[in-house]
Symmetry: C2
Subunit: 332 residues, 2 copies
């Protein structure tokens, strides 16, 4: 691999000049620039990014922590973030936190040790205090899908409560009154918010919430499976269920059908997230759209703007969900 030194020799200029044409940050006479570019070309020279990083204390890498690497939700997120950074010549280093406090901290430590210029965090298990502390520690970061007091300018969030509200409102508008709710783990902020939205919609229609209509699931298929079983067992004349995410909705659909119910005629279901498989389901799932890709891109823009000083504006921090009407809700 050719080095900058060889280029400088071949072009008959100094190291510094070559560096200047590489970085294009200091004026260089056109004739000189051409000489250098030709030399680089002839030698097939590519700057060594490690050496660049060491000298400039910029790694041009951004660390991402997500809960899981697989799963439709994070796939979309990562894909859009990667595209945004790649375009800017940056690269991402990805780590999985698995919604576990120890693993999330470990992931963050790992990324910091890799000298990331910034982090984008989708973490669920670490405390707000930990994040505030992290903020003091030097490495800048953006938080996805979570609002932390005093770090609000670096939080890119979905209005989860409104999403929960919309899901239930949609059912209400379609005439349902006995509505079950399968929640995510209530210690997760988004799960709590979505449920709160559900309650608000109920309240607006003057319906009181009953504990027999609530089931706390796990955001995974199994939660939907168990949730439907429990809900139907407790109250057989439920006409609709809102599931706090699409994975649970998938489990719910399967189980409800196995129990002999026709969907959506006997039971309407609405999901949350609008992950890519939700329209492979039968019936196609009515759900709440979570613009996760757009939110990832916005996090990337925040980094590009604040860390790499690109002149970007329109940094949006709160995103709004909306109903995606498909076939899993029956009007009564």
């Amino acid at each position: 691999m050719a080095t900058i030194y060889e280029v400088s020799k071949l072009a008959g200029v100094s190291l510094a000049t070559v560096s200047r044409v590489i970085n294009n940050n200091t004026p260089v006479r056109e004739a000189t620039r051409v000489k250098v570019l030709e030399a680089m070309d002839k030698l097939g020279y590519h700057p060594n990014s490690i050496a660049q990083s060491l000298a400039s204390s910029r790694s041009n890498s951004i660390g991402i922590v997500v809960s899981e690497l697989n799963g439709p939700f994070f796939g979309t997120l990562l894909s859009d973030i990667e595209t945004a950074f790649r375009r800017a010549g940056k690269h991402v280093i990805i780590a999985a936190g698995h919604s576990d406090e120890r693993l999330e901290k470990e992931s963050i430590a790992f990324l910091k040790s890799r000298n990331c210029d910034a982090l984008i965090l989708h973490v669920e298990a670490v405390s707000d205090d930990y994040l505030r502390q992290l903020n003091e520690s030097g490495t800048p970061f953006v938080i996805l899908n979570r609002f932390v007091e005093s770090l609000s300018d670096r939080c890119v969030t979905l209005n989860n409560q409104h999403g929960g509200y919309l899901a239930t409102q949609h059912l209400l508008r379609n005439g349902h009154r006995k509505i079950g709710y399968i929640s995510g783990p209530m210690w997760k902020n988004d799960a709590e918010q979505r449920y709160l939205g559900h309650l608000r919609a109920l309240a607006e229609y003057g319906i009181e919430s009953k504990s027999s209509l609530f089931y706390e699931g796990d955001f995974h298929e199994l939660g939907g499976v168990k949730g439907v079983a429990a809900l139907l067992h407790a109250d057989a004349d439920i006409t609709a269920i809102v599931c706090a995410n699409d994975e649970m909705a998938a489990g719910a659909v399967t189980t409800a059908r196995e129990q002999g119910l026709r969907l959506p005629d006997d039971l309407s279901i609405v999901g949350f997230d609008n992950v890519n498989f939700s329209h492979y389901m039968y019936p196609k799932l009515t759900t709440i759209d979570y613009p996760i890709g757009g939110m990832g891109v916005m996090a990337a823009r925040w980094v590009l703007k604040h860390i790499y000083h690109q002149k970007l504006d329109n940094i949006q921090t709160v995103f709004e969900p909306r109903v995606i009407e498909r076939d899993s809700v029956h009007s009564i």
Copy 2:
């Protein structure tokens, strides 16, 4: 951030000694080691990985190229690869090739410029010759899901042909004789192989293939949608269809149902890949298991063994598919 120099001063030893205890590659007297460790601890020292890389010409990073970052297939792959490397203190840099020759080459160039110690490539559009040439260029790599002559020791592949064979054989054994085939793009090696397997199974049962029973799709939902329409139009008494991947199967299922067919009674369908949403489908999809996660891990092990000289054995390069029986095949 504390540097190695400060640690050495606090511990009262030289830089070199600190480096030795960090890397644990040269004997250091126990008492000295303890002193150094204590100093590191007191300063909250973490080695600067960039400087380590520059000095040792090892970046401890592995580049991965996959076709897409989203999608169930690659999610599983990436997740398992990341876990394997993370455990070894390495990190992965991920780029998407989008099955496009230019983008694939660009991704590879990008990763090489990032000084990756090795690459794991799931590329479809670049030629075998390009890969052979790349092999000369210095950066070692492993190829996933593709067999390249003369690079065979670095190819981790699925026996795609056998998979195609199994899919069709399964249908044949269940009494089907009129079997449609929705293929992936035939220029992709795996698509071709799967189809060859299909033909072999047919031949074993003395059935001749008819062009009206073949449709070349795109490996995406749309291919399944159009494929079913075309196949059913050309030959209404087809009783079963094999789809060369699960995404197309999802499209096929939806479309068949929209055309009024009952599944699996009127039409049996088998997929390929066994991606995670295949059992959210209705009916739950019978498919061919593609052990993609295991293959990713094996690629990681190859790198760990050959590049980082871990003593590992059992590097398996050819994986075997198997039938996952679920509910989308009807016996006649």
